[in-house]
Subunit: 322 residues, 2 copies
């Protein structure tokens, strides 16, 4: 009796990604001795072709995007990565080269972020490519960053730059001209999980999350969790040079920048007195951070204001699946 | 800004499933203090409508089947359940009642098996319903059952009964008449993870796995992992009364019973001298166990013999996705 093709597919493409505890992907489950005295941090994300990535995205970037969105969840909790499990739903007849490139991208990110594959499942689907990844990380007990904790008067901080992901999607869909360096498209395809910064914010950030569904909507989550409102200063939201160039030509893009998804930056609350310490930690991590507003007493409502302090209406804010 | 519909869907259907560590599904990740001094056991499985379950299966059973196939992986390692993360890919327009019934089934199984939801993700898909579940369990260090370890002379054991899953699928697809009690269809829809038996086999089974892709194929895995062959006595393979009744009318079904998927029974190797201890442990768990052959020196080949010792050819054995 010969082995069915899925075993050869797993052996060729996924076994090289397997690390300690994965038992070469040959057992029913993985075995992992958790780091003694640490809490586990667990998150799961799914990605579907045509919904979360473009069917013609380079396969090298697709697995990396999924891994990085999960790593971004670890960053948001201040956790360090430990390993991951992944299930892949693949159409029959997917070219073998696609899977090879997909796995090669994951291998590169495993080296960059210091984790490896623990296990998973490979199934066929009559639908589009469907990927699901569960990540494990660890954190000192009680040190995890949480969404609840922002208080009126706290400052709102965000890492990196906002809007690149949604603009990059627009570039890839032909809606905008591409920037010469391909920066925006790369930001859509390859988020940059802020793991170092997340870990450095323990004891400094009062609340934190990663921005995945749009800055304004996700800030609303921090407000609801903290039981307070927020004032977001649109003019202080950090933009990349490429995003700034697009916005200069089309000022109506501002709501899209503030509500579009795929940023994967850290959004956090901190006491004003901690600003200097936060800047120092961020500099040590090589990540830019910006203060973009403050939390305010009252209802969990995000008020967006322009440079002159006038209120901006963003319309329907944030990505929804349904 | 109102919350998008997916948040209400998660709050209504999935938050009631969330247990300790899930942080009410409101943070970026779950936090779990692992049981001190235990190893973690981790497995992930995906299920696609039309591939792993029938699109018109009762939604109450679909999440339970996914959870139970993962619990069966824990059972195969001798582990106790701890919690799970689940991602759901759902077509837009899925009736709300479907999700309510899906979650109610999971709630029932959470109570039965003593675990709860830790986290996940809910996305839309243009394809069929696509579910992925990662399970966490725990085991005493070094006590996990493994696929490698069977030696020539060891007896082959299996729990419960074999073939019900694949025959149940045939019943649901109108290929066979249903048994009066609906036993076979239920066995296809609701596997019975042998968690108690798996834990009781620590120190007794030399190798173990769960039968998910067909008995003959999965026995081949134990052979390859152990570097030996196996002789499977078809006449000793345990059949349910319903399966036996079908086979009586159609003896050509035997290869299908021995190679069809969806059994989710434990298959294990043990020294002949441990037979009595194994029977005692199984009786204490209330699970039937049967000796169905032995491991043999030589190549990793499964030889199937009939009651008279003559060799049977099963043809193409085992389920493959590709």
């Amino acid at each position: 009796m010969t082995l069915p093709p899925e075993f050869s597919l797993i052996a060729r493409h996924f076994r090289p990604l397997a690390g300690p505890g994965a038992l070469e992907l040959e057992d029913d489950a993985a075995l992992l001795a958790p780091p003694p005295g640490r809490e586990l941090v667990l998150a799961a994300d799914a990605m579907v072709a045509g919904v979360h990535f473009l069917p013609d995205d380079p396969p090298e970037t697709i697995g990396r995007k999924l891994l990085r969105t999960n790593l971004s969840d670890l960053a948001a909790m201040g956790a360090a990565p430990l390993g991951y499990l992944m299930t892949t739903g693949l159409p029959r007849g997917l070219p073998d080269g696609w899977l090879g490139a997909f796995a090669a991208g994951l291998a590169a990110d495993q080296r960059e972020f210091g984790l490896s594959l623990l296990g998973g499942d490979t199934v066929s689907t009559p639908g589009p490519i469907h990927l699901s990844l569960t990540i494990l990380g660890h954190v000192a007990p009680g040190a995890a960053l949480r969404r609840a904790g922002a208080r009126p008067g706290d400052e709102i901080w965000v890492s990196g730059s906002i809007g690149d992901g949604t603009l990059g999607l627009g570039v890839l869909q032909g809606e905008f001209p591409a920037d010469a360096a391909g920066f925006l498209a790369e930001r859509y395809r390859l988020p940059r999980p802020r793991l170092g910064l997340g870990q450095a914010l323990a004891g400094l950030a009062r609340a934190a999350m990663d921005v995945s569904d749009g800055l304004a909507q996700d800030l609303g989550h921090l407000c609801r969790a903290g039981g307070c409102g927020a004032v977001l200063r649109a003019a202080d939201v950090p933009l990349s040079p490429a995003a700034r160039a697009l916005l200069r030509g089309a000022p109506a893009l501002l709501p899209r920048i503030l509500t579009g998804g795929d940023d994967y930056e850290l959004l956090f609350a901190a006491a004003p007195g901690d600003a200097e310490a936060i800047r120092a930690q961020a500099a040590a991590c090589g990540v830019a951070v910006s203060r973009i507003g403050h939390f305010a007493p009252g209802e969990a409502v995000v008020t967006v204001v322009d440079g002159a302090g006038a209120r901006l209406d963003l319309g329907q804010g944030g990505w929804s699946h349904f």
